[in-house]
Every structure is written in structure tokens, then in C-alpha cells.
Point group: C2
Chain length 249, copies 2
């Protein structure tokens, strides 16, 4: 199992630098606008001027990359789509920073494994030579597994295990609103089903607008909305922007 053996390489003293967004869109803001300051700070502090965008969670690679570049280029960072490089693994190996965008998590993970990128990304993030940004599906694949994605399983990936930059699960676009007339499971019920599994890890439900900043062994909530933590046999706990979640590492 690729992922299993790979996961052991995320060391306690990892040099990981990651910015994990719950979503790229947030009510009342243009694309990524709510996260502008955090993204600019994060990339600048890490001396990044060029980003490789990974559009694999969607199918229109050119269109998707252009949409992201149109927002981020004016902030002073150049964005290139991974699909424009002849060899994706080589491109990642030479890259300083990547941004994995949202879409369908199963499709994204399937393509990352297909192109043998999961281990490369994990190892390079671990040793501090690759800066990671992700949003929605791109945040899901940064965690231990995709067990808590909201997406439809439109393709069967070789495993649900993911890059494992953080050793827990994230539920992006987390929402606790309940529609009383609809009888499908609520988000909390769905996460509760996962928590009943023997293999369940803690789940951080990140509201839209929430950003998780991973700075080596420090975890901090940023952005404009907070998060909710689900742990085995415990009530869920709310955390506001600014909260220190380093205990999860």
C-alpha cells in the first residue's frame, strides 16, 4: 500500500508549511478574496513567487487554472497549471509551492495516485522543500484520508488514504444548518457515522471562510470563520478564528 508506507514518513519534526482553506468561495466574497491577506502572508513569508496550480479535481484544466491565475497573479504571484508541464512528477520535484484546487475529491485523489504524486508531495512537504496550499478537495487530500469529504464517489481511487500532511480528517464546507423537511442525513449525522468506525480519526469541520495554517508543529485557525472538532466519544467542540489546535498534531 503506497499510502500506508508513505504515511510513516511524516515525522514528528516535520518542516511542513501548509495553508488549508475550507473553500475558495465564501458567501459575500469573490473567488479567494476572503483569504487574500492570509495567502499573501503565507506565500511571502515562505519566499514564494511562483505557484503550480493542480486542477485535477475538475476536468477543464485550462479554464480552471485561468480562473485561479486571474485572481492570484494580480496579488504578485505567478500561477502555472501542472497540466502544462510535460512530466508532472518532475514539475513537482522542481516546484517551490503548489496549490491544489477544489472540485471532486475522489477524482483528485485518483489522479494524484495515477500520476504517482502522493508520495512525492508528502516527502517534499515533510522536509520543507515544498509549500502546500489547498482548498476544499485540495484540503481533503492534504489530510490523513478522504473519509470525510462531502463529494460523490464518482470514481474509485486505489485507496482513501491521502497525503497525510496532518494526521486527522477535515470536513470542508462544514455546515450545521438543518432542513427540517429533508430527511437525508445532516452533516453532523454523517460525521457521527464516521466517528463510530474503529479507524476514525478526529474530524475538524471547517466552516466556509475558515483557514487552517500548518506551521511545522503549530496549527492555527485563521480566516473569517471558525471550526468544530469531532472526537471519539466526546461532544463536538467549537473553535474560533485564532484558536491554537497544535494538540491535533
Amino acid at each position: 500500500m503506497l499510502a500506508k508506507s508513505g504515511l510513516s514518513t511524516i515525522r514528528m519534526q516535520s518542516k511542513r508549511q501548509a495553508l488549508l482553506l475550507s473553500s475558495s468561495n465564501c458567501h459575500g466574497y469573490g473567488l479567494l478574496e476572503f483569504a487574500k491577506q492570509e495567502i499573501c502572508n503565507f506565500l511571502s513569508i515562505n519566499n514564494v513567487r511562483e505557484l503550480i496550480f493542480i486542477p485535477y479535481a475538475q476536468n477543464d484544466f485550462n479554464g480552471y487554472t485561468k480562473k485561479i491565475a486571474d485572481v492570484i497573479d494580480p496579488w504578485g504571484f505567478s500561477v502555472k497549471g501542472l497540466h502544462t508541464f510535460p512530466d508532472p512528477a518532475n514539475a513537482i520535484n522542481s516546484a517551490k509551492a503548489i496549490f491544489i484546487g477544489g472540485g471532486n475529491t475522489f477524482l483528485l485523489l485518483h489522479r494524484l495516485y495515477e500520476k504517482n504524486l502522493v508520495n512525492i508531495i508528502r516527502d517534499k512537504v515533510d522536509d520543507g522543500s515544498l509549500i502546500y496550499m489547498g482548498s476544499s478537495a485540495g484540503t481533503n487530500v492534504a489530510t490523513i484520508s478522504i473519509h470525510t469529504t462531502n463529494d460523490m464517489p464518482i470514481i474509485y481511487p486505489p485507496t482513501f488514504e491521502a497525503i497525510g500532511i496532518v494526521p486527522f480528517n477535515i470536513n470542508p464546507h462544514y455546515i450545521d444548518k438543518v432542513d427540517e423537511t429533508h430527511k437525508g442525513e445532516t452533516r453532523d449525522q454523517r460525521i457521527g457515522e464516521y466517528m463510530e468506525m474503529s479507524h476514525a480519526k478526529p474530524v475538524l469541520g471547517m466552516h466556509e471562510g475558515c483557514i487552517l495554517h500548518v506551521n511545522a508543529n503549530q496549527l492555527t485557525l485563521k480566516g473569517i470563520s471558525g471550526a468544530v472538532l469531532f472526537q471519539k466519544s466526546e461532544m463536538k467542540t467549537k473553535y474560533d478564528v485564532g484558536a491554537d489546535l497544535s494538540f491535533l498534531l
Copy 2:
């Protein structure tokens, strides 16, 4: 692949008899109440007096079976949980009818494969010796695959291919309401992502309260709400209760 070879055994002239509910709960009704008449008709016409309930989509097998039995027993049918039999495969082999309840589709499919029940159920439904009832997750696993479940992937099943009583996909609890302040994908967007896949089959989005009656090569919408059909490169089509969908077989 178990499922793949198995799927070929569903013949064009299958004797299948199935009643597939979008959900067991429907706004304004008690558990299964909206479907009472259809369930009673379906079981009576097929001379069924005893049902084996398969509670695998949830974890409290006794509690779940009791909840279902408390509703269906008074209608004149005796309900026993599959988990109370020493050998599940033997029990299915001797059964006249099964009802697979809702919960988590991944967990359900995982357990059906683990206990080697997928091929047994498919073959017995195909030759007319086993009557099938399913609701929600139990409806998802009756279709060609679980690619269009709404559930969280809380466990990794050996394949997404399912029993294949019908050769298309179903999205249960289908809803087209949109929350303008939430930026997660809408149900139509999620199904649209699936339709972009080369392996995509037609998807029947069944509103809560909708029932699909499979009578050999006849497919009819029953219940108290209709459905929406998604096909490749076509606009979605609405179907009301009473519609004949046999062309999907």
C-alpha cells in the same frame, strides 16, 4: 473482480422483483408510512409473509431491526434481522424476501462483500427466487454502482460496483433546493460531475417519497413524489408518479 463478472449474470429476461424506496422517512409521515400501501401490495402479490431485514448500513443491528419490525409486523409481515441467523449466506439462500435498510452506503456495501452476499442476492433476484426491497442506501446498492450515493466514504469497500438489479444509478433523497449562502456543490452539480465521467450511467434522482417498482422488465415510478433523470449530454427530465421508465432497462 467479483462484481464485474457477477454483473453479466443479470439477464435481459431477468425475473427480478424489486421495490426501491428513495428513503424510509418522508416529511409529514411516520417511518415507512408513505410507502405502506405499495409495500403491502408488493409483498402480497409476491406471496411474501416473511422478510429478512438487513441492518448492515447501521451499527445497532438489534435496535434498527426492531424499529423496522415494529412498523411492518402490524401490517401482517414478520420481520427477522439477518444478523440473528448463524450463517448470513445460508439465510439469504433460504429466504423468500429481503429488505435492506438505509444508513451508510459504503458501510453497507463493504459488509455485503465481506459476507459474500452480493453475488448470492444478484443471482437469486435475477432468477425470481428472492424478492428485493431497499431504502436509501439499500436502494443504492441495488443499482449498478454506488457512484451516486450522498453518503460519506467512512470505509473503503472492495469496489463501488453493487448488486446491479437495475443497470443505471440512483441518487436517493434527491433534492434540487439550493442554499444561496452555502458554496458547497449543489446536488445537481455533484451528479453533473459524475455525468462527465466516461463510465457514467444514467442517474435517476428520486425525491423523498418516490418509489421505483421493478417488475421483471417493467419499471414504474410509484409513491408520493416523482424523480428526475440525468443522462449524458442531455437536460435533466422530470418524471411524475406513474411514469413508465422501462426504457432504462
